[in-house]
């Protein structure tokens, strides 16, 4: 994640903080596609001010989520050390899915960063993806997960589930179940419960 550049003037720092605070609640209310103008308005700040602090929507998302993603990457290592591979993987994926469901349509933004290295989200997100891929490989080496899946596919599937739950209240209520179905399906046949 990008280092937060401490502003040189106190009002700039104050505005930045306000924007982040407002952006968080607006994104929670309306999803990751919310109007940036609206965020600026509610932060009682000019639109230019918003764009100066956060040149792109991704930059704003990164400032809000970057440290969570970094934490997820770190957690992957912890889980790998403390739990059997299969358990580590599923626990981690659940945590990731919960994070990806923070704002509606965030999954779309995350998927798009895969192909766009210029996005600030790309860095924090790809580091996290790497961590997940490592957990996957461990579980596959242990024979717990079918070998014909790779990190990209896993990331895509979990994001797909996170995304779909944002498009229907009825489906949202079953997010955990849908995730279970997918994860269960990835289990190696020999290890299937």
């Amino acid at each position: 994640m990008a280092t937060p550049p401490r502003a040189r003037r106190s009002d700039a720092q104050r505005n930045r903080d306000r924007l982040l605070e407002v952006a968080r609640t607006v994104f929670e209310e309306q999803g990751a596609q919310a109007s940036l103008r609206d965020i600026a308005r509610r932060a009682e700040v000019g639109l230019g001010t918003l764009y100066r602090h956060f040149p792109t929507r991704d930059a704003l998302l990164d400032s809000l989520l970057g440290r969570h993603f970094d934490a997820l990457a770190a957690q992957a290592a912890d889980l790998a050390a403390a739990h059997p591979p299969r358990e580590a993987l599923t626990t981690w994926l659940r945590a990731f899915a919960a994070q990806a469901a923070a704002y509606q349509d965030l999954s779309a933004a995350l998927m798009d960063t895969i192909n766009d290295e210029t996005s600030p989200l790309h860095a924090s997100c790809s580091a996290m993806r790497g961590a997940g891929a490592r957990l996957l490989r461990d579980a596959q080496d242990a024979g717990d997960v079918r070998p014909d899946v790779d990190g990209l596919e896993l990331f895509a599937l979990v994001n797909a589930v996170a995304w779909i739950t944002g498009h229907s209240p009825a489906v949202a209520a079953r997010r955990d179940h849908l995730l279970d179905l997918v994860l269960d399906g990835l289990a190696a046949p020999s290890s299937r419960r």
Copy 2:
């Protein structure tokens, strides 16, 4: 699907046909979120004309896809009669996924119709969903598919896969594999190959 109201004036009919033709190619090029203004322009027709013929984007999509969805619903019955439940289900789901991938982001539109009975797509889509749910139940009764899945969840999962493949070329190349992973995961443990 809504009955196609034969226009009373020949120019109206001509414009309607032009719009549908152009809309099909534009949606294929740019996805289901393409600019309606752009469609009107390329059809060399006023924007008002487009909106008179198709009051909403969903109405336009329905006119383009409705009969395909009706055909899918019909195909479900044929498959149920001619094939074992499991095979009927997977064959049908593949056909549906192919259709759902026709235009990028179409899956989002389809998911949204679930909660919006006023959408023209709702009718043709829910009929089709019913047909799929019936195939699912057959397969479950035969013990081929795990019993703790319902039609809504199945629809959501397949749409999720269709959607995600539209958000990354790398993922798009593996659409069939992702679908296999999900369908395989839904197999009843006892019947797993």
